[in-house]
C-alpha cells in the first residue's frame, strides 16, 4: 500500500480537504492508499518516508519524494489533471 503525505499550513484545514479527495478518488479507481497529514514545516523531516507528498501551497523545502501541488483540488480548477498526476505515482 502506497503512503501519501498531505501537507498544508497548519496540517488541519486544507490538508483534510485534499487528503479526503485523494482518498475518494483512489477508492473509485480501486487503489489502496493511506494518507497522513502534517504541517508544511514538518515536510523536510518527514517527507522521505512516504511515496508521495502533496502540498496545498507553495513548498520551498527539499525532499527526495516526488511532490505534487494540490491547490487545484481546493479551487476545483484543473482538478482532474492533478488527480491523474497524483494517481500516476500511486500505481
Amino acid at each position: 500500500m502506497k503512503r501519501v503525505l498531505v501537507a498544508c499550513g497548519n496540517g488541519i484545514a486544507t490538508s483534510t480537504v485534499v487528503a479526503s479527495k485523494i482518498k475518494e478518488y483512489a477508492e473509485n479507481e480501486r487503489i489502496n492508499i493511506k494518507t497522513e497529514q502534517c504541517k508544511l514545516m514538518e515536510v523536510p523531516g518527514k517527507g522521505d518516508d512516504y511515496d508521495l507528498v502533496v502540498t496545498t501551497g507553495q513548498f520551498g523545502g527539499q525532499v527526495k519524494t516526488p511532490v505534487v501541488g494540490g491547490l487545484s483540488l481546493l479551487t476545483g480548477v484543473g482538478k482532474e489533471e492533478t488527480l491523474k498526476e497524483i494517481l500516476s505515482y500511486l500505481k
Partner: protein, 464 residues
Amino acid sequence: MWDAIMSGFDWIIGAGPTVMLPIVITVIGLFFGLKLGKAFKSGLTLGIGFAGIRLLLDYMASNLGPASQAMVDNIGINLDVLDVGWGSIAAVTWSSPIIVFIVISIFAVNILMLLTRTTNTLDVDIWNYHHMAIVGIMVHYVTKNIWLGIGASVVMAITTFKIADWSQPMIEKFFGIPGVSLPTVSATSTLVLAWPLNWLLDRIPGIKKINITLKDVQKYLGFFGDQMVLGLILGSAIGLLGGYDVTTSLQLGVSMAAVLVIIPKMTSLFVEGLMPISEAAQNWSQKKFKDRKLFIGLDAAVVVGNQDVITTALILIPLTIGLAFILPGNRMLPFADLAIIPFRIALIVALTRGNFFKNIILGLATSAAILYAGTITAPILTDLAGSVGIEVAVAGGALLISSFSATSLTHSFLVFFAFVGPLLVTLPTMIVIIGIFWYYFEVMKPKSKQVREQRELEMGEQST
C-alpha cells in the same frame, strides 16, 4: 404552534452543544442541499470533535491553570488569561444557538455581493466562516439582541470579502497563486493595522533601505515550529517559573505537549464534518457564476508554507512570548496559538515583499494589538465558553480564556466594539472608517496606478 417551536429551541439549547451541534449542522447541511444521511453524519462528526475539544480543554485548564496561577504568585507577573487556541474558540462558535442564522447570512451576503458585483471573491470555505461568526455570537451574547449579532457578522463578512479583493493582487504577485483570494480573517485581520503602518514606515527616511537577510534561522529556531517541542518547553518553563520542582515541571511540559499535539487532531474533525457542506456550496455557486471570472476564496493555509513567512514566524514566536511579559496591562499568556503565528504574519510578508526588518516591526505591532484585544475581551469569551459547558475556573482564583483568534484579531475587535459600544457614536464611526479604506482601494489606488502607467507611457514615447 409558536410555543411548541420555542420550547423545541429551549430543549435543543438546554441539551448542550454535543446534542445541538449534530442537529444544527444537519439543518445547515440540508439548507445547502445535502442528503439527510450525509448531513447528519457531518453533524455527528462535529459533535464528536466538540466532545474531544471539551475534554482537552478541561485537561489543559486543570494542569496549566494552577501552574499559571502559581507563576502569578511566584514572580508577580499577572498573566492569568490562558490562550487556549483558535480551535477551541471555533468549537465554541459552532456550538452557538444562533450559528445557523449567521452562517446562512454570511453565505447570503457573499452571493448578494457577487450579484451586485461589489466583490469578486467567492467564499464557500464554510469552515472559516467561524471567524466572522464569532463576532456576531459575542455581540449577541453581550447585547442579547439577535439582530445586532447578525448585523455584526454581516459587517464582518462584507469587510472580509473586500479585504480579500484588495489584497488579492498582492497575494497573487508575492505567493504566485493566480485566481485565488484569502477571505481568512485570521490572516487578513493584521492588514487592517499593517496597511497604514507600512504606509507610515515607507515615509520614514532610511527604513526602506534597511535590508536584513536572515540565514539559518530555520536551522536554529526550527524547534519553535514543532508543536511537541514548543509545548514541552513552554509547559516546563511555566512550571519552573511557578516554583514547581523539576519533576512536576516536566510532567506539566509533557501534558502541554500532548494538548498542543491533540487539539489539531480534534479540530480536523470539524473540518472533515463541514467539508461536504462546503463542497455542495462550491458546486452550486460555481455553476451559478460559471460565466464570470471569480477569485476562489481559500483558507490562508495555502500561503503559510512560504519560506519568508516561516522564517519571520520563527523569530516572532519567542518575541511574542517576551512581549506578553513586558507589555503593561497585558494579561494574556500566549500558548496554544503560538503555532499559528505564520497565519497572522503571512500577508504582512506579502505586503512588505519579504523585507525582514519591516516584517518584524509590523509583526510586533500587530501581535501587541492581539494581546491587548485578547486581554480586554477575555471575560466575555470566558463567560460565553462557560455557557456551552467549557468551565475553566480553577480552585483559588478565576481563570480567563482567550486566544489569538476571535475578537483578539484587530479587525474582529473593532467590529465587535462598534456593535457593543454606544451605537449612535460607534456605528457611524465604523462606517466612516470602512468608507476611507473603500475610497482608498477602489478610487485612489486605481487612479494613481493609471497616472503612473500614463506617465510611463509618455516617458516611453519621448525616449523613442
